[in-house]
């Protein structure tokens, strides 16, 4: 009988194909549903093991972009932060859907319509509490606390976005760079006292900050500069107290990514008191760019500007 003999291979083939497709779809399904546990600032989060549609809000934008991530949705970066991104990071940012000018004002309906499978957000805790339920209803949400340790923070982003390999490479490069700076400037690091001044907020007119940026903790902890820990956010002082900076050997001051003094800080540098500081008179000031994204590549750029600045310092007499 021809028909049964023909039928048998067809049936076998059909059964085989069906089996394969079942196994594949089961595997794909399992992969899609596979999760990992992330220990984030908002608790323990069950997130997809290999997320494909990641949205980033607030300062989380920079953290994910720094890992080479391509977010599907972002909130607006400040112009200076956008300009400071690398070309491919700018392209990834511009390809994403813009959800609003800030994380706390993000269009969550638009976010939901994009069907993200993971959300990173970095906002003050009070803002997060107000958005938490709505965000978690859309997708697993990971809060990157404003004040959390930056190394732990990038680990969380890398782990949750399945980019640990990228992170490890960035970390190795950074450690190598820091080690080189420590060796190259061992004498300066050992003998000189440093202070970082800034005026990051326009709202605080004629007030400057001592050791207030997130980069201060980086140079203190990683490079070992003698730079006082004045607590979170440093200490703010009136312009009347510029003279207090005379106690330090080297002054670090803020510049943008192009090396220009920031607009908010410029008025301080124009004052007679600043011009009369011993460190300013002797050229022992270092303009440094402190990126906000708090990532290894970001801090690596900070180290580059520190390296350039320390190299240009006049030798101690």
């Amino acid at each position: 009988m021809i028909i049964p003999s023909l039928r048998r291979p067809t049936a076998v083939l059909t059964a085989a194909l069906l089996g394969v497709s079942l196994v594949l779809s089961a595997a794909i399904g399992a992969s899609a549903q596979e999760t990992r546990t992330i220990d984030a600032d908002n608790g323990t989060i069950e997130a997809p093991a290999n997320p494909q549609r990641i949205a980033t809000l607030g300062r989380a934008n920079g953290s994910f972009l720094a890992l080479g991530g391509k977010p599907i949705a972002v909130t607006k970066l400040r112009q200076g932060d956008f300009d400071a991104l690398l070309e491919d990071q700018q392209a990834a940012y511009e390809a994403a859907t813009l959800l609003g000018t800030s994380a706390s004002e993000a269009d969550l309906e638009k976010l939901a319509s994009l069907k993200p499978d993971l959300i990173f957000i970095s906002v003050p805790n009070a803002d997060f509490e107000q958005m938490k339920e709505k965000l978690e209803a859309i997708a697993p949400t990971i809060l990157l606390g404003f004040h959390s340790d930056w190394k732990r923070r990038v680990e969380v982003v890398a782990e949750a976005s399945n980019k640990v390999d990228v992170l490890n490479k960035q970390k190795a490069d950074y450690d190598q760079q820091v080690a080189a700076i420590k060796t190259k400037y061992a004498e300066t690091i050992k003998n000189d006292t440093f202070v970082e001044v800034g005026s990051g907020e326009f709202s605080k007119v004629a007030v400057f900050h001592l050791n207030g940026s997130t980069c201060t903790e980086v140079v203190r902890a990683d490079v070992g500069l003698d730079i006082a820990d004045l607590g979170e956010g440093g200490q703010s002082r009136s312009y009347e107290q510029i003279g207090a900076l005379a106690d330090y050997d080297v002054i670090l001051y803020p510049v943008d990514h192009k090396g220009n003094v920031t607009e908010a800080f410029r008025p301080m540098t124009e004052s007679s008191a600043w011009q009369a500081l011993p460190a300013v008179k002797s050229g022992r000031t270092v303009g440094i760019y402190c990126p906000l994204d708090r990532s290894y590549p970001g801090n690596s750029r900070y180290m580059e500007s520190l390296d350039r600045g320390l190299a240009a310092l006049p030798k101690d007499e």
Binding site: K76, R78, Q79, G80, T101, S102, E105, E201, F202, S203, K204, V205, A206, V207, Q235, S236, R237, S238, Y239, E240, Q241, I242, G243, A246, E263, A264, P267, S271, S272, A273, A276
Partner: protein, 347 residues
Amino acid sequence: MGVTPVTDKEPPAPLIALRRRRFAGLVAALAALTIVTVLSVMVGSQAIAPSVVWDALFNPSDDFDHFAISDFRLPRTIVGLAVGAAFGISGALIQALTRNPLADPGILGVNAGASFAVTVAVGLLGVSDIRGYMWFAFVGALVVTIVVLALGSTRRGQSPVVMVLAGVCVGAVLGGATSALTMTNPDAFDQMRAWGAGSILGRPLEIVWPVLPLLGVALVLALITSRSLNAMALGDELAASQGVRLVRTRILSVAAITLLAGGATAIAGPIGFVGLMVPHVARWIVGPDQRWIFAYSVLLAPSLLLASDVLGRVVMAPSEIPVGIVTAFVGAPVLIALVRRRKASGL
């Protein structure tokens, strides 16, 4: 007990008492201004001995304390004197013009116009220095006040009520537009906060000098209109019957308000309550005569502004609080006290 005879040549006793009170008050206000001015130079977040302050003023050197005086305390004191006097007189003028004891220059849209212009300058035109955007603030205040004046004019002339309504409406529209611009441009928002907080520190004197002649012109205009405003307080018809030119007086008054409040706002940002409180207090002491109210406002408003500034320097030392925030803290309770008074000071 005899009755003192009153001759035709001598003013009545209550009037003499009032005159004495006015002169005594004026001397006290002058003394208060002198004391506060000295305090403004002497006191700050950095403790500096009086002898060092003296040396800084009359025998300056490269000492950091001397720089604190010459770079910061002296300029902010000069700015405070000019800006305070401007806010005080413009407040007195607007209260007289609108016959509203709780009016301040903001009611004519001055602050809204200045804020909108600064937002446009910073957010759309990329102006980032106060030397640049203060002129936008000034022009913004000027344009908006002219618009309000035009909207407030009816066929029968300028109505204070219509003018106030126009001011409130234009202010609301511009306030919304300013918010929309700053919400879509975080960079502009950052810079707006600096100017919007209201401060007299960090304002270089080079931006004050060009505005001073304009403030001087406005002061003259205010003095010219003071007699007419006294008559207008009795009502338009009575004032007109006494020969007061109502339209001219209103236009001159609005011009003076714009120059004073626009110039002061451009330099220091919108500082609230000074223009509201001081003319009110002056009216308690001197009665409804605008000439005296202006004289008192010139002295008391800078006193209040500088005293608030000194307070802002010391309460958060070694940091500072902008004077606009301190006047709001002081002003809000005073405003409540004003509106709860059994007898509001009449106009």
